[in-house]
């Protein structure tokens, strides 16, 4: 766990700040103060193993980018490490937490000054039946809150592609096609879409509904067409009561990609939505 052992309190504080304040307060109810104060205190007092466990237990609450893969021969295994990172926690042989380091080059203005802003970036890899799932916590793109001066970003450091590419190559993975599962949940009334991009025989078409109305409910003729079409990035609203605290997600079914675009309130809700898609796939 060298990456966490060597991390500065500042690195650990930024890592903890990726999580919702409600979860932080639930984990450390005795610590009062703002989110920043709480994260600072926890970062300077907790052991790396405890931080790794908190991150692993709480990851399902975060905004996430999820990539689902399969392998032709079905022989899936967790990787020993990931790009610029390492395994920091393994739970049985079907789930592990990895941490990598995202180093952003930043140029501050007035006066001009070069600096870096580093984040410890959690990635969870799971094996669920015939699927290998890579889950990235979405890092905040707006870095303005870290500086008191105007700035621009020179280089954002490693991205999801840099982590995925070697995994796909070394583990001979292929993206899972999620069309069947997603369309089944749509048909079952688990969710409806207000924004989609889809293929017609002669064009790439898209539909954005006014005021986030659902296509299935308001444009049944288009829904019929979509239920037989190849979909690209499609935004779904989970209908009330169906996904518990998961309100919205986007899915690019051909790429095996699911994005949870908002924080959720309850542990495990995003896990259940992923499982529901896979169960119907």
């Amino acid at each position: 766990m060298a990456i966490l052992d060597k991390a500065t309190p500042q690195d650990l504080k930024r890592l903890l700040q990726l999580f919702p304040i409600a979860r932080l307060r639930e984990a450390w109810p005795e610590i009062k103060g703002t989110k920043e104060e709480l994260c600072h205190l926890v970062a300077s007092s907790l052991k790396p193993t405890d931080i790794a466990q908190f991150v692993d237990d709480s990851l399902s609450l975060c905004k996430q980018h999820v990539f689902v893969f399969t392998r032709d021969d079905g022989r899936l295994a967790l990787p020993a490490s990931i790009t610029d990172g390492e395994k920091v926690r393994e739970v049985a042989d079907d789930h592990a937490l990895y941490i990598t380091r995202s180093v952003n080059q930043v140029v501050l203005k007035d006066p001009l000054e070069e600096t870096t802003l580093e984040f410890l970036w959690p990635v969870r890899i799971e094996i669920r039946g015939p699927y290998l799932i890579v889950r990235f916590v979405v890092l905040e793109k707006n870095l303005g809150s870290y500086f008191e001066r105007s700035y621009y970003i020179g280089n954002r450091g490693i991205d999801e592609g840099d982590v995925l590419e070697p995994l796909v190559e070394s583990l001979t993975l292929v993206s899972a096609d999620l069309h069947k599962g997603v369309k089944q949940l749509w048909a079952d009334g688990f969710m409806d879409s207000c924004r989609t991009r889809y293929k017609t025989p002669v064009s790439l078409a898209s539909e954005i509904m006014d005021e986030e109305r659902g296509i299935r409910e308001n444009k049944p003729e288009l829904y019929e067409l979509l239920s037989e079409s190849q979909l690209y990035n499609t935004l779904f609203f989970i209908l009330e009561g169906q996904g518990r605290s998961v309100e919205v997600m986007s899915v690019d079914p051909s790429r095996g990609f699911i994005a949870f675009l908002r924080y959720t309130d309850d542990l495990g809700d995003t896990d259940r939505v992923i499982q529901k898609i896979l169960d119907s796939n």
Binding site: H65, K141, R195, I208, D210, E211, N233, L235, S250, D252, A259, L261, R262
Partner: protein, 131 residues
């Protein structure tokens, strides 16, 4: 029923022949929400004449005028009867490098678009059943 009412309202403000042969196009209009350009293209008139027709229909309460606020990609975030009754802040989906994210905008900073709605009550007197 609503389509017939719509046709009757338009007919009320135009010369007798202007709607001839336009039934099919009119039938595609949604009386709950249509834009000036829909009326202009169906009637084959200029923008200013179509605007005059719509303004008169609003004044006489056959149509009601509404406003919608548009996200940077042109999608409709919210609508209301007047700009003053639109929410102060709206949330839009922004697509960057193929990824969607939510962003809040002040309504005052975004473009608005006007649309019309057929006023069912006011047009019931004008309604002529099809012969």
């Amino acid at each position: 029923m609503l389509f017939r009412r719509f046709l009757t309202v338009i007919d009320h403000f135009t010369s007798v022949d202007v709607l001839a042969g336009k039934e099919k196009a009119l039938a595609r209009l949604n009386p709950e929400k249509f834009y000036l350009e829909n009326v202009r293209s169906i009637l084959g008139v200029s923008h200013s004449i179509a605007k005059r027709i719509c303004d008169t229909a609003v004044r006489q309460r056959f149509f009601s005028r509404h406003v919608e606020v548009l996200c940077p990609d042109g999608s409709v975030a919210a609508s209301a009867e007047t700009e003053l009754t639109l929410p102060e802040v709206v949330t839009c989906w922004i697509e960057e490098n193929g990824q969607l994210r939510e962003q809040k905008f002040l309504t005052s900073a975004l473009e608005k678009s006007t649309f019309y709605r057929l006023n069912e009550e006011s047009t019931s007197d004008l309604y002529r059943p099809a012969t």
